[in-house]
Amino acid sequence: MVRVLNFFCVALMGLSILALYHVSEKTRVAHMELSKVGSRIAQEHSHLSVLETEWGHVASPARIQKLAETRLGMGDTASVQLYSFDLLPRRAENPGPLNNTPVQNASAQIPAAPTALVLPTSHAGM
């Protein structure tokens, strides 16, 4: 009886050792995977940081202004060309509140100097 018990105990210990080794190995592998993922996350954070900085550089006002001037031919807007959106005329007969009615004509027209009347010459119509 004692011999059987001994054998059973030794076998159980052997199985436990195997189980422990298995768990330990799985843990080690998982740990390595975790380290790799952690490393990749840190690397991606680092890349994001660089990309954000690069974005800050390419979207800087100085660069945008240069592109707008050279590629689009844009320039400064004079303050007389600025107008309150609320005061723009609406398409409706009676201007109402801003209820998505389309803007009739958004371009302000600054009164121009009166042009000289050109009279037809005696040759006109000939």
């Binding site: 004692v2 001994n6 105990c9 030794v10 159980l12 210990m13 436990s16 050792i17 189980a19 422990l20 768990v23 330990s24 843990t27 998982a30 740990h31 390595m32 975790l34 380290s35 952690g38 490393s39 996350i41 840190a42 690397q43 954070h45 680092s46 940081s49 660089v50 954000e52 900085t53 690069e54 800050g56 550089h57 800087s60 006002p61 100085a62 202004q65 400064d76 807007t77 004079a78 303050s79 007389v80 600025l82 107008y83 309150s84 005061l87 723009l88 005329p89 009739q104 004509n105 371009s107 302000a108 027209q109 600054i110 009164p111």
Partner: protein, 536 residues
């Protein structure tokens, strides 16, 4: 009946005990491995970030630590030291002779090859396939906006310590939160516009230096501060013509006629005159052996508001003398003009003023902005105090909550402040500041043209310092702007004049025209005819 165990029984008991101990150890180890052992104790590659980001008031990035690597070599492991020095010099740009000397010095276990190398350089080094090289992760401070914010942000040293500007001034905050963000009051858009306009004007007028400040008069936030010449903070070396000196906080200037703003504020506060009072303006105004003159022809008598609008030195002197020297020094001190201004910037300048004798002639000259030198930032803060309802304001470079009111104690009466706003608006519509008036934005301001003192204490002939102090909208100011040009030269467009009305004033007008829509300052509609719409 107790029987002592036999030898065989004792062995069984000992064996069973050992088995129990062994099982207990296995069990404990299982508990330790599966439950207690930390799983995050790995060596994840984390970028070394020593400082927090600096952002503008809208969250746009101004400065950030980027991961870079420092390269070290272990000379004892190198196969061929001369070849290694040559290869590394080509790959990293390091000095070959320095490397070779370092490699041949037996005392050096490690030799620094290059700091903060780029990924390209790292790839070139790796391609050499050389043993004995080690990379150490580090960080390099990068400034996406480059020169535009260089003077106000300052720089760090290679070890990540602040050296100047906000990098030094906000050092504690930046080091407390590595990887976090520290928001400044700077508005990157406004900063760029001011820098852009200032650079154009500096080139046009061939000025030695130029600077500008935009400040919120209620919260004291500095939205923009530009000082030219500047430098590229990403280069880490100065190019010809560059300067690291922030003239807006580190230097003091005799600002000339823009100082008349304080003389008039003092007179109104002391009720020594009213804006419509008429004063006699003699041809020359003698005080003892000194005679005060005018920069240009003035009528024999003028209303006080026209004295400010036409910038009469004699009229301003008379107004200053009505309050007296003692009161003048006390008034300027209450505005913070006689002490160095304290801000988040570590740089500061000590004002120069008559310390030993503040008599009649000193009172008169200080009245029109000579004989006293203050930093442009001090001046702007004092101007903000005068127009914000008369309450003291301290400039700050830290972002405040929207609509924050940081005004302190009442320095001048509210009515005096309102009167000063009207007078400054009058200068922009009817006086020397007409070129700064921007349609739709109700600009108020004052021109200042001062002569530049030379090394011997005498004024340099034909060398002027032009400035313009502006507020907008003048009826209820939200922002104060100061533009300064050091020794601008006249051009054909300015009819041979280099005075502030032709140089600093139009430049200020252009700055306001561009920044006001961005800052949400309401545009006062002009009477224009809209196509198809009613006449307005």
């Amino acid at each position: 009946m107790s029987e002592t165990p036999t030898l065989f029984q004792r062995r069984i008991i000992i064996g069973a005990g050992l088995c129990i101990v062994a099982f207990a150890l296995v069990g404990l180890r299982l508990v330790h491995v599966t439950l207690l052992q930390s799983l995050d104790g790995g060596h994840a590659a984390v970028a070394v970030v020593a400082r927090a980001d600096l952002t503008d008031r809208n969250g746009e990035l101004l400065a950030r630590d980027l991961p870079v690597k420092d390269l070290y070599a272990r000379p004892r492991i190198l196969w061929d030291k001369a070849e290694a020095a040559r290869g590394l010099a080509v790959a990293t740009g390091a000095d070959e002779r320095r490397l070779l000397n370092g490699f041949n010095n037996a005392k050096n276990p490690y030799v620094l090859v290059a700091r903060q190398i780029t990924p390209d350089a790292e790839a070139r080094v790796m391609a050499l396939g050389m043993p004995g090289l080690e990379f150490e992760q580090g960080a390099k401070r990068y400034y996406p906006d480059g020169r535009n914010t260089a003077q106000v942000l300052g720089v760090t040293d290679p070890d990540g310590g602040g050296v100047s500007g906000l990098e030094l001034g906000l050092q504690d905050k930046l080091r407390k939160a590595p990887g976090g963000k520290v928001a400044t009051s700077i508005d990157m858009r406004v900063q760029f516009i001011v820098a852009d306009e200032l650079a154009k004007s500096r080139e046009k007028f061939r000025a030695v230096a130029a600077g500008a400040i935009v400040m919120d008069v209620t919260s004291g936030e500095v939205l923009a501060m530009v000082s030219l010449p500047d430098f590229d903070p990403n280069l880490r070396r100065m190019m010809p013509g560059d300067s690291q000196r922030n003239i807006m906080v580190q230097d003091v200037y005799e600002l000339g006629s823009i100082f008349k703003v304080f003389t008039f504020a003092m007179g109104l506060e002391d009720r020594t005159f009213r804006p419509d009072d008429v004063l006699t303006i003699p041809k020359g105004f003698r005080i003892g052996k000194h005679e005060i003159g005018e920069a240009h022809h003035m009528p024999g008598s003028m209303a006080a508001r026209d004295i400010l609008a036409q910038s009469s030195n004699i009229g301003s002197s008379q107004i200053a003398l009505r309050s007296g020297g003692h009161r003048q020094s006390q008034f300027l001190r209450s505005l913070g003009l006689l002490t160095p201004i304290v801000t988040d910037l570590p740089e500061k300048a000590y004002p120069l003023y008559p310390r030993h004798q503040w008599g009649a002639i000193e009172t008169a000259t200080v009245g029109f902005g000579h004989g006293i030198s203050v930093s442009p930032l001090s001046f702007t803060a004092a101007l903000a105090t005068v127009v914000n309802g008369g309450r003291r304001i301290a400039p700050t470079f830290a972002r405040q909550a929207p609509g924050a009111d940081r005004r302190g104690e009442q320095v001048i009466r509210h009515e005096t402040s309102v009167q000063m706003r009207e007078l400054l608006r009058y200068v922009a519509t009817n006086g020397t500041g007409r070129n700064a008036d921007t349609p739709g934005y109700d600009v108020g301001g004052k021109t200042g043209t001062a002569e530049v003192p030379g090394p011997n204490g005498r004024y340099i002939r034909n060398a002027l310092r032009s400035s313009f102090a502006a507020i907008f909208p003048a009826h209820n100011p939200r922002y104060a702007v100061l533009v300064l040009m050091d020794q601008p030269k006249a051009t054909k467009d300015t009819f041979g004049f280099a005075t502030a009305g032709y140089t600093a004033a139009p430049q200020t007008g252009r700055i306001i025209q561009r920044i006001a829509p961005l800052l949400g300052v309401p545009n006062i509609p002009l009477p224009t005819q809209l196509a198809g719409g009613p006449a307005l």
